[in-house]
Symmetry: C3
Subunit: 445 residues, 3 copies
Amino acid sequence: MNHKQLITGLIAALLAVVGLSAPAFAEVSGETAYVLNTLLFLMCGFMVMFMAAGFAMLESGMVRSKNVATICVKNIALYSLAGLMYYLIGYDLMYGIDEGGYIGSFSLFWSPDDAAALAEEGANFDAGYAATSDWFFQMVFVATAASIVSGTVAERVKLWPFLIFVCFLTAIIYPIQGSWEWGAGWLDAQFGFSDFAGSTLVHSTGGWAALVGAIIIGARKGKYTSDGKINPMPGSSMPLATLGTFILWLGWFGFNGGSQLALGSGADAVAVANIFANTNTAAASGVVAAMIASQIMFKKVDLTMALNGAIGGLVSITAEPLAPTMGLSVIIGAIGGVLVVVSVPLLDKLKIDDVVGAIPAHLVCGIWGTLAVPLSNGDASFGGQLVGIIAIGLFVSIASAIVWTVLKFTIGVRADEEDEVMGLDRAELGMEAYPEFGSGGSQRL
Amino acid sequence: MNHKQLITGLIAALLAVVGLSAPAFAEVSGETAYVLNTLLFLMCGFMVMFMAAGFAMLESGMVRSKNVATICVKNIALYSLAGLMYYLIGYDLMYGIDEGGYIGSFSLFWSPDDAAALAEEGANFDAGYAATSDWFFQMVFVATAASIVSGTVAERVKLWPFLIFVCFLTAIIYPIQGSWEWGAGWLDAQFGFSDFAGSTLVHSTGGWAALVGAIIIGARKGKYTSDGKINPMPGSSMPLATLGTFILWLGWFGFNGGSQLALGSGADAVAVANIFANTNTAAASGVVAAMIASQIMFKKVDLTMALNGAIGGLVSITAEPLAPTMGLSVIIGAIGGVLVVVSVPLLDKLKIDDVVGAIPAHLVCGIWGTLAVPLSNGDASFGGQLVGIIAIGLFVSIASAIVWTVLKFTIGVRADEEDEVMGLDRAELGMEAYPEFGSGGSQRL
Amino acid sequence: MNHKQLITGLIAALLAVVGLSAPAFAEVSGETAYVLNTLLFLMCGFMVMFMAAGFAMLESGMVRSKNVATICVKNIALYSLAGLMYYLIGYDLMYGIDEGGYIGSFSLFWSPDDAAALAEEGANFDAGYAATSDWFFQMVFVATAASIVSGTVAERVKLWPFLIFVCFLTAIIYPIQGSWEWGAGWLDAQFGFSDFAGSTLVHSTGGWAALVGAIIIGARKGKYTSDGKINPMPGSSMPLATLGTFILWLGWFGFNGGSQLALGSGADAVAVANIFANTNTAAASGVVAAMIASQIMFKKVDLTMALNGAIGGLVSITAEPLAPTMGLSVIIGAIGGVLVVVSVPLLDKLKIDDVVGAIPAHLVCGIWGTLAVPLSNGDASFGGQLVGIIAIGLFVSIASAIVWTVLKFTIGVRADEEDEVMGLDRAELGMEAYPEFGSGGSQRL
């Protein structure tokens, strides 16, 4: 032990006697760390919030113009409802769970206790961050899960029944499965299941709810003809779809980077930086892999494949964006991009009508990303990951099926055939998204 | 008094003798706080800057395609002029005011004194933040006020006269009323008027200027027929209007969060976090309330009502985003959303033609939000709030009326009837916003 | 010497004996500075990343609708390839250079050494920031340079050859010239060349590559008729072009602000704040100057000139956004705005077909901004700046010409005439960007 260690050790020991941590010779002080941790949640939170706009633009670009205004209403409404539901019940249901438990507490109206904590004598910032900043960050995540559903079931689901489904998803279904892992429930405690930023908890959860919805609601009228043909229904605006994808990519830095949950030390800063780089690298290789795969499979590059390749790469790296080297991130993202290109025609063969390709990008790549965690993270096992994927998949699918089915046989989930042909914008909202351009799409099937 | 308090108290007392504050055992150091405060201004400032893009998209989506390029020019030009005017004269006029005063100093060319301050021996960062970071943050606010006007008077106001109005608004009108409260002038000193982030100072100010402009300029040709009918003139692109609203929502975290003016302590971090959550919650309940209200009143959901519901909720919480509980934020935002839905047809009855619905969202909800401050903030009184609303309303309305009227009787503010029918894009810019789509809208009224 | 200085001096002296820096009475601690520096890179980095979306929207709005999907593919693919190439080889080639050297190291697969550094005993954060955060920040810069090219050569360059060019630009050409200055190579060491955030290193580099490409590939079919007429080919969506410009403006705060490379002290915070204000001011005056210039020269305001005026102002201030007063920033930006308006018709006279006006905004203003550095920065000389401009201009032009020419005479760079008339979207991607609006633009020349 040298002089330096001797003296700093002595000072620390003396201070410990009176219950203080070592002075900030070169470290981050407790209060500074509290501020920086909170800042990470808020900054990454507003980036994830903006993903709501990304989904809105991606979906606006991928539906036909006769349904664009409706998809816009759905997106702003679902983001709003997610926030209200998570305040009303979701957050406590997700994080008010006993360690190793199966379900959290059903208390209403979450309310932060920061002010009380800070007002106490000798407040020492041990909580690490402002409670509300964590609420905000977790709230934007639940909105993301709901956004995934709206794209898949677009162009035929009715507005209010869809929004009721969103309420159940964000208030009950998402928080319960989330509590199993991020709330430190049974999946975390018994199986060491590992999902850093939510390949399974957010993306597959949205994907399962979307898949079950697509099956129960059925395909769009005319999408699959009786003689086995697939009728392409190209989206109305490719630049909006592209913009949406770029916004999602931007938001994903917050999604994965904020999931480090701390920026109060040099080690945290290094972690967030590595997460940013790995996230970008996986997305980039997802794009390139999807372009090459579609050039090989379809003899041409398809823009929507490139866009979904980016999302596929992003979802794939989300379960473990910290541990991989950049080289491994390239591989994980590339496989995600290829999976998207392979899965899209497969879904069509099964006559599952996914308007924006959300199931390949979010569900398939979510599973892949979760399975890839043990490649770089020694704390995770292939078996544990599989248990988590299956448990959450079963729970979300069954719960979603119940809600969709009850809606179907009560108020109905599907627009009338006539309304679907006319377009939901005129049928449900009495308006057009582009009233001056051509037919506004409303005369088309 | 325990050991810990004894020792830290002793150290603090000893240091006080030589004029130092207590060492950073667990606190944020003075320079770190200076950096964090500055960072808050810069981060929140760029978010508010992006609101200029939000307004540009919202307004582009809400006008007919024949006027889209013109509204784009107006938006980028007004943001630019606001920045130049605030540098030229506005900032000093707003903040160079004596406490309790009525008007600030008319000095030209604001210039920061940071470098000088830091170069002084023993610089101690007591200023709290870089002077220019505050200028930047305040500058993007004045641009917001100007953006509100462009939407209301769109589709018939001429380009250059509009921009001259913007110069007066951002150089003179906004700074004078702003100085009364944020510059610590008479409204703040005598009446305890409270407006945290600008429900009145920014949003109502823009709203009054817009209302007076709409009355003096008159409605669009054909909007109100002589037999009392209202001719709907639907906007050209609903997804762009939706995108604009999401961008505004995003920027509002900076608008309200940055108005805490500090991030240099744990308490500040808690405050900013609470502001983020309340801001989001009020917007979310504004959307849902507006959707329900329009379903009840008009028997259908209207996208533009949902979008303006978000803005109405945001404006409503802006006067006091810190003190309310999240539950109260739900209520404040919901009332804002309903006020929008109620006010839009009211304005039409008065034949006041507000193209984007800015007056309901920014003026009506700005008044409501300002009146709601005493519900959670004991330092504000209903009477004091009313004085502020009326004083600023009168001043901005009269000053705006003078400028609009002088413009009207000199160079004219309104496009020729022929140009209005043809569209301002071809008339004023000689171009079309969408030259390849349908008629480009130019053959329509 | 007063008491305070005596005591703090004593403490510092004692600590120095054991090799520690002074305790954080009022300073930023070493680890806190490390976190804040890293945060600046990450925050500014994601803002610059979003510029990729800005370029995509600007270019989508400025090309005709028959080429919009292709320009979207190009933009997301070039951003992806830039990131992969910079990881593969570019970063080491740029920063692995000896001081005063001419070329960096050709090592493959950059990999950060943060974890190793932090794991060392007595890690002291002397590196200043997480290595990967710097990689991320520099990576988004190289993508910007590539984005500039895609706009100029749009509507006639083939997809895959363009992407091969991007690989060479981002893996080899950009890093080599960048190493000369930012890697501390010969331009920095011998000539005191100064380019704070890349007027020359990023924007002119992109501009030269675009100019050479435009000359070698040739103008769009029908753009310049044999009788000397210029056929205007107006862009398909002005609001998307406007949105793109606003996004670029937003991202530029990160571009210039992050180039301070540190936020770990009060002085750094002041610097970043001044950079934000100067950046905004130059852009604002660029817009106003371009509008006035186009009103005078063409008797009308042109939206695309206003937009490119913003970019011209931004590029002009980029070489030195820190040292100028705000007044000088107004002048530098205004000259940039005027240069854009003057250069656009000049290029047309030379029959150089630049679809989005990238050469005036990025190359011409990049040269102007670099030459303007000595006006405020005494360390730079007019001669040294000229050497840098010429050296980089020659290198990038010659290297780009070689790559473009080899591509031209091997796989070909230009779409068939038939494909160009039909539009690249149908020819290369087999899709349309706006399949429901009018003709989708595909019947037009």
